[in-house]
């Protein structure tokens, strides 16, 4: 299944345009436009509402008189959020430390393991690969409690380690992705390198690693999105406010505000925006790699 959007799109568009009259199924009617505009508007209303709340004054928050379209523009909320009793800089920094560690771990380990499963021959490899696939079906909740006990015994609770270290051991999904990707590369490349006297590690580091860039970047993006927005992991392992990532910190603010006192919704929404913006940026910069990886072809293989 060829779904390499970046490569297929321009050519395909020209073709459709020239044959538009022949094949009507691809022509958009005014009705299609109306539907698309309506749907996009409905989907974006919550986001506009977020911006509106983020720009509201404290009085508006207390009176709970928000409007969907912003009426007030208190841009200072964006700087205020860093100067209040909320340790927002700390939250941001924590998120960055945890995410960077997790991404590094997944990228380093998934490439190696995936390459080994795709190329190197060894007794027991196929049986092991069946185990890799089978583990994808097991819900993480099964291992949640014993893992917590393990990290508690290691004295790692209330540190970043439980959220970072397991990533250095890769996971089934990423191993599978890399393996699928390597399988499509011609094996003559590594054979030639071997004739030239490179060892297995040399082949991996010098030949494979550069070619794996798209899939490793995609894995990095997946890992970043998963850890940046992760809520349950930090909720289990972190107790101190000063260690919390933004995803937990933002929620923490609303749940700890005193009774009868409304949470500072404007600052909470500024937090939500800070939580979302990096994801939009990452998607914008990384979409090329996501599509290059040929997701649908790879995933259709999970029969």
């Amino acid at each position: 299944m060829a779904t390499v959007i970046s490569a297929a799109a321009p050519g395909q568009q020209e073709r459709t345009r020239s044959r538009e009259r022949v094949v009507g199924v691809f022509r958009a009617t005014p009705f299609s436009y109306a539907t698309l505009i309506l749907v996009s508007a409905v989907l974006c209303v919550p986001l506009v509402f977020v911006v509106s709340i983020a720009l509201s004054s404290d009085q508006t928050v207390n009176a709970n008189t928000f409007t969907i379209l912003p009426r007030e523009f208190h841009w200072e909320n964006f700087t205020r959020v860093f100067g209040t009793e909320l340790p927002m800089q700390r939250f941001l920094l924590n998120s960055m430390i945890i995410s960077a560690g997790a991404v590094l771990g997944q990228v380093l380990s998934s490439g190696l393991v995936g390459y080994a499963f795709a190329r190197l021959r060894a007794p027991g490899k196929n049986a092991l690969f069946i185990v890799v696939i089978a583990t994808m079906m097991i819900p993480s909740q099964i291992t949640m409690i014993p893992q917590f006990i393990l990290f508690k015994d290691l004295g790692w609770v209330n540190t970043y380690l439980p959220l970072i270290v397991p990533n250095f051991f890769s996971n089934a999904f990423n191993v599978f992705l890399v393996r699928q990707f390597v399988s499509r590369l011609p094996s003559e490349i590594d054979e030639a390198a071997m004739v030239d006297g490179l060892g297995f590690f040399g082949i991996y580091r010098r030949i494979m690693l550069p070619m794996l860039a798209p899939v490793l970047i995609a894995i990095g993006i997946f890992t970043l999105t998963a850890t940046w927005g992760d809520f349950m992991g930090p909720l289990i392992y972190l107790n101190d406010e000063s260690k919390m990532p933004l995803a937990l910190g933002v929620q923490y603010i609303t749940s700890t505000s005193q009774a009868l006192q409304a949470p500072p919704w404007n600052l909470v929404m500024v937090g939500s925006i800070l939580l979302t913006l990096p994801m939009i940026l990452v998607y914008y910069l990384g979409q090329r790699y996501l599509y290059e990886m040929d997701i649908s072809g790879g995933s259709a293989g999970v029969k």
Partner: protein
């Protein structure tokens, strides 16, 4: 085995060792421990007390909240997953036409899926508020909106609404797959005089079945594990009307320190997910179409 082969095998195990060690330490070991813990009464501080199958029998015969959570989880998965798929397909089909500014529409539809779940929950806390924008819209049509998150009847639809907001994730995958459908199929159908609706049902849908199947499986697994939204928005309330399996498990383990009971719940969750996945694979033979398949 030749020396070269042996060396290659050695390198394989060296390269694969991160995953093998991770599998043993973070998966297989904990799984065995989890079976053991589920057969004990344990608060994680004092030594565990062996109780046999008591946790499981209590879950199944003496815990109305568990049955409620199980039912709610089914309800949530059974509606949100198909609904998300249908909406995703519908949007992908719209975007697959000759649309001006397609990129803009695609981005706007995908945008909600980029918002982290925690932020999504915060946003919907405001959107679904009794005087929030959703009820404002309903008021325009003269419908008095409910207190979505506080009424037992409306809290599950509210959570489903939140999940549908992210239907754009499926749209992108489906759209990518639609582009891979050979145009010749449509051209041939056009010559045969097939209507557009007929073309959609007889060409587009069958060609997309592998990716629909993938979305269905991933969607089901995800829906059965719903956590953050429930935990942040309702904590399972009111009166457990929105309690689902993972928040229940989480509370048992980390609020009440009933590690044995929580582990038993996690195995029930595993059985439920396994059952539905197998069921989906069983029926897949009848409706999933693989082009390369030679049966």
């Amino acid at each position: 085995m030749s020396r070269l082969r042996r060396r290659e095998a050695l390198w394989f195990y060296l390269f694969a060792s991160p995953w093998i060690i991770g599998f043993l330490v973070f998966l297989l070991g904990p799984m065995i421990a989890s079976i053991y813990i589920s057969l004990t009464d344990w608060d994680s501080f004092t030594p565990p007390k062996w109780v046999g199958l008591q946790n499981y029998t209590r879950l199944l015969t003496d815990d109305p909240v568990f049955w409620k959570a199980l039912w709610n989880t089914f309800y949530y998965a059974a509606i949100s997953v198909p609904l998300g798929l249908v909406i995703g397909l519908w949007l992908a089909n719209l975007l697959n036409k000759q649309v001006r500014a397609r990129k803009v529409f695609r981005t706007l539809i995908y945008l909600p899926t980029l918002v982290p779940l925690v932020a999504t929950a915060m946003i919907f806390k405001m959107v679904l508020a009794p005087s929030g924008p959703l009820n404002d819209v309903l008021n325009i049509f003269g419908i008095p909106g409910p207190s979505w998150l506080l009424e037992a009847v409306w809290v599950k639809p509210a959570l489903i609404l939140l999940s549908v907001w992210g239907a754009g994730g499926a749209t992108v995958l489906l759209l990518a797959a639609m582009k891979g459908i050979p145009r010749e199929l449509y051209e041939a159908a056009e010559v045969d005089g097939a209507s557009r609706i007929r073309q959609f049902w007889s060409i587009t849908i069958p060609q997309l079945t592998p990716i629909i199947f993938f979305n269905l499986i991933m969607g089901l697994i995800g829906a059965f594990q719903v956590f953050s939204q429930v935990y942040i928005l309702t904590k399972g309330g009111p009166n457990n009307a929105s309690q689902t399996m993972v928040p229940l498990l989480f509370d048992q383990a980390f609020s009440f320190y009933k590690m044995g009971y929580a582990s038993a719940i996690s195995w029930m969750l595993f059985l439920v997910i396994l059952g539905f996945t197998l069921l989906a694979f069983r029926t897949a033979r009848r409706w999933v179409f693989y082009e390369t398949e030679v049966k």
